[in-house]
Every structure is written in structure tokens, then in C-alpha cells.
Amino acid sequence: MSDTSKEFCMYETAWCPGCGNFGIIKCLKQALEELNKDPHEVLLMAGIGQAAKTPQYLKTNSFSGLHGRSLPAAIAAKIANNNLTIVVNTGEGDSYGEGGNHFIHNIRRNVDISHFVHDNQVYGLTKGQASPTSSEGFVTGVQTEGSMNTPFNPLMMAIAAGAGFVARSFSGDPVQLVELMKKAILYKGYALVDILQPCVTFNKINTFAYYKKRVYHLDESYDPHDKMAAIQKALEFGDKIPTGIIYQEQKQTFYDKNKVLSTAIPLCEQKLDPSLLEKYSQEFI
């Protein structure tokens, strides 16, 4: 039986009413459908967290791995089968906290996947501890005196690590978010979209209204190809929060560089030339 519908049906979710995740998953569905993706060739991947439940809620292929480990699994799945469209949807704790090492090093690999980080500046699933992006002074049951660490700046870190597509959006801005998602998916290489997402239950500071008041679109005159300008924008996070493509640069991808992948046949379907085994054996004789 083969289902030829191009619709990404939605299942019932376990999110709180009013959660920013609803906006994001709707945009994701729309972006994939507008790109005319066949659900059979899409693979949604995630770690663990509230955001990380996203892949479970759309009718397509899904991989719900370990907390913090979505990227290594995702880039390897893409290497194994270049025909898959791979999108990672997961939380900022998952992406930048537990998964921080994979974040900085997978940017360096530049495999062609999209990474949509639902950034609610809090650990949602574990009920409200500070996340890497929590602002200084953010009070929680663990950070009883307020978070004391310098907040993690995802855009700066991504640019510093060498990412070629770095964007920010807001779950309450569906028109822009769909656009950015589509561009990220079409971009050849690793594409990051950090998506500001209110958590109505555990983050009473960075609310919908908070973001709404602060976000603004980068205007036409802004050139995302100018790295120093991009860095300046990436550093801007306070009363004003720029959204849109912060930085873009075309770079060689993992596929471009790795000779094993230079054929049109995806790795998972490549067959070993049996004569090679004889040849390799001979080398030991």
C-alpha cells in the first residue's frame, strides 16, 4: 500500500494550551507542504524534551533519539541517504545544553540538514529549570537566586563555528517563520533557525507579549552576507530582537567534499565491489 497524499497529517499533542510549539509545528507542516515534499521522503528527528515531541506529531518518518543527541544521528542519517529531507526540531536545552558539543562540531561538518530550535529559554519537560539561553537573573526551582551564567547566544555561536545559514524567528510570526523554514530546508548545508517560543507554563518572563514587543524584521537593506554586520546583529538581544536571516554564505557541504558520496546512488544503496575483498586480502599476503 502506498499513500500518495502530500499532506503531513497532525496527531494529537501533549502540549499545554497556548504553548508556542503549536505555532511552530503548524509552520513546519505548511513549509513542508508548500515545498511539495513527499511525507515519505521527509525524516523529522529530535532529541528529548517538549519541543522534541514534534516529530511524533506529524505523519512522516520520525526519529526520537536521546536527549542532546539529535544532531549526530541526523547528519549520519543524511549521509546514509541523501534522498531524505531531514529536519531536526528540538529544544534549546537539547541543542545547546546537553548537545552543545554536537552543535559546534556538526556546524563544522556542514551536512545538508535543517535545525529548528524551539527556544523557550527554559527546560520545559523537566518542569522549569534554566536553559542555556535563560536570561541572567531568571529565577527557577533550581536557580533560586536567579541564573548567574552569561546566556548562550546561539546565533553568535553558530557564526563563530562557521555556519552558512543562521536565522532567528518567533513562533508568533507564522508568515516569516514559514518563509525561513522553507529557505533553511532549501539551503544546501547546515541551516539553523533559532525560534523564540513562549512556554506559558514555566517561563513567565519571556512571554508571547515579551517577544512580540521586541522582535523586528531585518529590513531589505540588511545584507546577511556581511559577516561583521551579522555578528553585530547576532549580539543584539534585549529591548530589540532582530529576526530573519542573520547570516548566509554558500559553503561547500559534506557531500561536496566527501568522495564516497560523489555518486548519485545514496550510500545505503551502494554495493561493495566483491573483487575488492580479494584485492585487500592480497595486500596481506
Partner: protein
Amino acid sequence: MYNILLGGAAGQGVDTTGTILEKLLKQAGYQIFSMKDVMSRVRGGHNFTLIRFGPEKIDSHSYKLDGIVAFNEETIEVHKKQLKPGGFILCDASFAAEGKNITKIAMNEMAKTIGNPKVVGSIAIGAILKSFGETLEHIETVYKHAVKSEYLDQNLQAVKQGFDSVKKHHEHKDGAYAKWMLLTGNQAISLGAIAAGLKFYSAYPMSPSTSIMEYLAGKMTEAGIVVEQAEDEIAAINMAIGASFAGAKAMTGTSGGGFSLMVEALGLSGIAEIPIVVANIQRPGPATGLPTRTEQSDLNFMISASQGEFPRMVIAVKNHEDAFYQTIRAFNMAEKYQIPVMLLSDQYLADSSAVVEPFDFAKIKVYQAPEPIFEGEYLRYKLTKDGISPRLIPGTKRGFVAADSDEHDEAGKIIECAEMRIKQVDKRFLKLKKLAMEIQEPEFIGSDTYDTLLIGWGSTYGPIKEAVQYLNNTSGKKFAALLFGDVYPLPTKLLAEKVKAAKNIVNVEQNATGQLARLIRETTSITCTASILKYDGRQISGEEIIAAVLKEVAK
């Protein structure tokens, strides 16, 4: 059978010299077993290679020497006590050591004259060839692959000068092994992985596993394998799992410390039922321990690693040939049962070389999972009679594929329901029923009547075999041994049968706590009556086992 030792500081070329010499000896028709003893440093210290060779089958190393080639004076100091009567020492003319068994050649000077101080090793090689009655017939072929072309002539000249500077001591013996393969344990695993259809190998460098990655990296473009150095071991195994999920046969390799970081993802492979092969090339722990040495102390750890419970398989490789075939089997079992399969080897096998019969690729069966047959919605975790859910690879038009680290229903969606939880746990464990029928019993060796039954696993295979043969031939008592390869699930049939006749059951292990003995008792209640345990980072030899057994049996 002869046994020679090449010793010197790190950086003096002991390793390279040994590698070339063993190739030449194999070309001359000999069996070889050569072992490396290396310090965890790049320069200085004291390293040595043991090369045992002869026209008969050789299963392991020995510490009793027929000859010592000393690149520094320390080598003589440390090893001269191991010399058998009649054994020789070969060293540079400048060394202070004296004795009638010492042959000195002005190697350093000769090398300088040749114009390359690094050819000292080749001079020694020439001298060794002459001593043992060999010719220079194979030197060009072997050196051509071993040194850069610009240094070829200097080295050949060095070999010849070394050859001419000593007298023949022994006669050449005819061996039938010139056309066999000479390779290390890690090379055997690598070749096995390629033969099994490996497409993706991800790892983080760690001694003594790195040479697997290096071998594969040398073949990657030609063989169509993506070899990726990960940022850490957590990434390495999660990459392998991701690649396997998407349909590329995947493996990762490491040593115990790296495996420690892979533990969580092992459970992901277990619950998400994604096949994966993990090789742990053991070294002595805990923590950093002795990084370049050998031990068998991760067995208990591997069989219970990761939170929760799920089926897995652990295969200990016994020798070089076994390493090749078991690696293929590891992939097959992983694919068939959709479980993590772990290969346990150690530094001893990893870095030692042995001569094995050329692999018969025609005979190898690579398991091919059947195409899933289903109507309606595809269910990744379908409850089936044998616990194996037909596996679809994502990206076909046939259905949607889910992988889930949470407990899930048949479709792969998170659940919390008690009934489905029990069903999925039971389904996963059900796979072990079928798997049990494919478990390989240990190899039984020795006398059919015996008082003492030795028990070993993995790389002590060779040393125990040698010890049993020797004991049966010389001690007047009768011995046998059970040598385990499959260690988890533990095969128990032959064990139950063979312990009946034994008065003494002695486990021989390269660890401090007798890990296999514990596993045996856990599984069968059978208690070993004595233990021979070694945990100084050096592999136990046949002669050490003999001595220990005689002591145990005597007491």
C-alpha cells in the same frame, strides 16, 4: 619454532623493523605470531616486539627468547634473563654489554655511512635473516611496500650489509605459509566489517582501537565507506545509530573509556531496535589506566551497560581468524535481531600479527533481511511471534518509519500504558529465544578424559591452547579447556556437560576479579575451583599458564 625480541626506545623504529621482519619471515614460508609491547609515549621509554616464527602452527606469543635484537642497552638489561640456553643477543658495536652470546655489529656506523641513521633496523633485519638461514629473495617486494621509494635503496643496501656481517646459526626450515595472510587482529576486524557490508564507520581516536578506523579510512573511497571521526564517542555511536536507521550498515569502535560514553546510546539501539555493531578493544582500566596495554576487564560492564533491560549480544574474539569471521557474524546478528552486538577484543590481539589461511569470501553469508510484508499502516514495532518486527528503511514509498527511545506502541508513538509496556518489553526479549539457537558453544580442546578443566575467553585462546597441549604431553596428568567466544548470552550446554568430569575448574583470565567465572556462576551456579588471573597489562603466555596450573593442581 623460534622467538626473537626487538627492543628499544619509542622513536627508534622497533615497530617498523618488526613489521618488515615478520613479513620477510612469512614470505620465507613461516607461521608467525608477533606481539607488541609499547609504552604510552611517542619518544623514549622502552618498547619491544616479540616475533615467534617456525614451520608449524603458532597460537600465541612466548616470553622465552632465542634471540634479542637490542637497539638500546636497556633492552639487554631488561630481557637477557628471558634468553633460552644458546640464545643470542645482537646489538651495536658501541654497547657496553659483554658475553659470549653477544654479537655486535657496527650498525650505527654502517647506517651513517649509508647516509641514513634510520636504516639501523634494516641492518638488523639482514643479520637476522642470515642467522636463521634465510635468503634475501623477498627483500625487494617487501621493502617496496614498506618504505618510501626515495629510501628504498638505502634500506636494501642496509639489509645486505647486515646480512654479510654475521654468520649463519640455524638452517632454514620449510613452512607452507608463504601464501597465507599476515595481519593484525584489528585488520581482521576491519576486513570482516567490509566483507559484512559496512557503509558507515564513526569513531573517536582511542588506543588500541584507532587502527580499525585507520585501516578503513585507507579504503573508504574505493570501498564506498564513509569513515567519520566524531567529536566524541557519544557522537560516534549516535551517528552510527542514525546511519543504521537510514539503512547504512554501521559500526563504531573504541576502547573501554570511549565505550563508557556510548553506554546511553546502547540502550537507544536496544529500545529503538536499530542494529549496530560496537567493537571494544580493551585495555587496562579503570579510567585512563594503562593506555597501550592489554586486559580483559570490560566483560561484566558490557553485558550490563546502560539503564534498563534489553537484549544484546557480546562476542569475544579468540584470535585473528576468528576476529574476521565473528565480525561478519556480529553484523549478521545485529541485522537479523535488530539489536546492538558488541565485539570484545583487546590490545593483545589488536596489535599482534598472525598468519591465517586466506579468507574464503565465497563462503561468507551476509544476512539480508527480508522485505517487510504488510497490509495497511506499516508498524515499526509490530508484535510478532518471534519478537522481530519486519524492518522498513525510511524513504521508500511503502510506509512511515519511526524510531523511539521512549516506550512506544507498535507504530512507534510514545505510550504510558502498562499493557503495551509489558508487551514491548516481552517482544524485545522474545528475540533471545530464536537467537539462543544460534549461539556458539565454546571450543573444547584437550584430552577427552581430564581432571582439570581450564576455562577462558577471547584472546587467552592461544595461550591456553598451547598450555593444554604442553601439559597433556609432558605433565603426566590430563587437561582440557573450554574456550568461549560467545559470552553473552552465555552458552551453557557444553559447559554443563564438561564440568561434570572435572575435579578442578580453573578460569584463566586477564583481569583481577575473574569476570567470566562470575558470569558462569550467575548463569549456571557452577563455581570455578581456582583462578589464574593476570592484570599487569601484559598478556599471559602459555608458559605462565603452565606454571600456574601446575601450582594450582599441586596444592
